[in-house]
Subunit: 320 residues, 2 copies
Amino acid sequence: MKVIITGGAGFLGQRLATALLRENVLPFRELILADIQRPNAPVDDPRVRCLALDLTQPGAASQLIDKHCSVLFHLAAIVSSHAESDFDLGMQVNFDATRQLLEAARHHAPAMKFIFTSSLAVFGGQLPPMVSDDCAVLPQSSYGTQKALCELLINDYSRKGFVDGRVLRLPTISVRPGKPNKAASSFASGIIREPLHGESSICPVSPDLALWLSSPGTVIDNFIHAAQLSAAQFGTSRTVNLPGISVTVQQMLHALGAVAGEQARARVSFVPDATINRIVASWPGHFDVRRALALGFSVDEDFQQIISAFMRDDMLQAGS
Amino acid sequence: MKVIITGGAGFLGQRLATALLRENVLPFRELILADIQRPNAPVDDPRVRCLALDLTQPGAASQLIDKHCSVLFHLAAIVSSHAESDFDLGMQVNFDATRQLLEAARHHAPAMKFIFTSSLAVFGGQLPPMVSDDCAVLPQSSYGTQKALCELLINDYSRKGFVDGRVLRLPTISVRPGKPNKAASSFASGIIREPLHGESSICPVSPDLALWLSSPGTVIDNFIHAAQLSAAQFGTSRTVNLPGISVTVQQMLHALGAVAGEQARARVSFVPDATINRIVASWPGHFDVRRALALGFSVDEDFQQIISAFMRDDMLQAGS
């Protein structure tokens, strides 16, 4: 049995691989990490195989998926601001490549669990104060549109028995280690991470904006949990809004001050960015996730705990 | 200025063309009817051009759309039961061809009004008694999925200014003239049309099933109305649930009896078909269409009137 992670060079891909290799909850003989550039193996383990693979190329998906594949974690994506500025690249990577993976699964591994990372960015427009699973998607970004397209396809492929799909709508992830990226939500990690490293950080949105957040650790737990559920547990829809916590930017900075002192908090300044604000403010800040919790998905306790986990897990490793 | 109708050989395409040529509410010098087989001109008019065009072929969309196109009515589609049995053909015609038309519009005619016929088949699963515009789609057929995919793309293309899209979610249309087709809802016309022609008809669903119906005439009026609205009137979403009337199969047959006598009604027998029932029963039978009505879309008065209009408009023409 094989498990595959696309976007395997990314932060979540590497962390998921580490968890799968360490925790041994999913049985596999081979763990394939694929990315556009060859990923590093996060752990020295004979089961890991790292592949450079451009999923937008014809035949790439069939190269990856064969009858021995039991689970695919499809994390590869062009992030939100990047997909907004380069529409065609976003369509190719975020939609067409996913469709090719679904087709490969249909023809070579229809029983494979296809775990797809969608996003709260599928929501937008006039939203109720509490977004539930039966709330219409109305994406205000091409990234959100492309994720919503994939959700529909995965549900239909699952309904027809072409694949066993599971769609996880991720909250904004904070705190990510590493460098800022082209996600519109990059600041949601930057305003915590940079000050903790003694650097200044700019917040492009209002302090009052409510974000829907999950720590990386909780998201990884939820990826693995999604692979352990039976198809029947999902009922009619394979799409789940993952649990998160609703926190305003101000509350995030307050937590930063509480955990790391006022001098850390003072390193954040506010410089509004209309483009980022337009995208991020269109996302919901609060969800009704009773279904996700009933399915056994996890949630963080509070944002101070998230910051502490980041300091413990991510800051001691070579100053990342 | 040019107006284009895809699916121009179909019943709705022909009727829309006739209305556009007669009513003269949209200005155009040329009306192009395109279909996989060359349509007939419904009216002898020098402005009509009829084209045989397979929209799934590379370059077909660019052949159709140029900078002179002001409105496209994109009606061409593989119908529901057919798209369910031939998934790949459904994806090609219902989704890929629409995407190619959107790309052609983006590059050659971004101001073009792109009127797309979606369907109540995008809805499914656990539905509220009254479906509104902010209700999540959860298609239980590949046809519904493909329509929902197009809705998302058209909204994103419109948001980005690549095209001026308008998505109309059509009720089930009854009474269609002509022959039964591969739509799962074909019976919704058959159980009225065939008895009126003195023929027997089989109803594959329960008499209690509520359908959401519109007459062909009202749908054509609504197509033309959609092309006359300004983009701003749609607000954040270009997708509208068109008005309809909620009628059970039993009520439809009661209306048939009232208009055409009990002997007509007695020509309908019930033979349940699980496949058709699964698809059709997943569709909502009642909508909150306040937004559509506020936008000026039309609605039929009652089903007796719909039957009378069919007898007046469609039965006198060469016994069709």
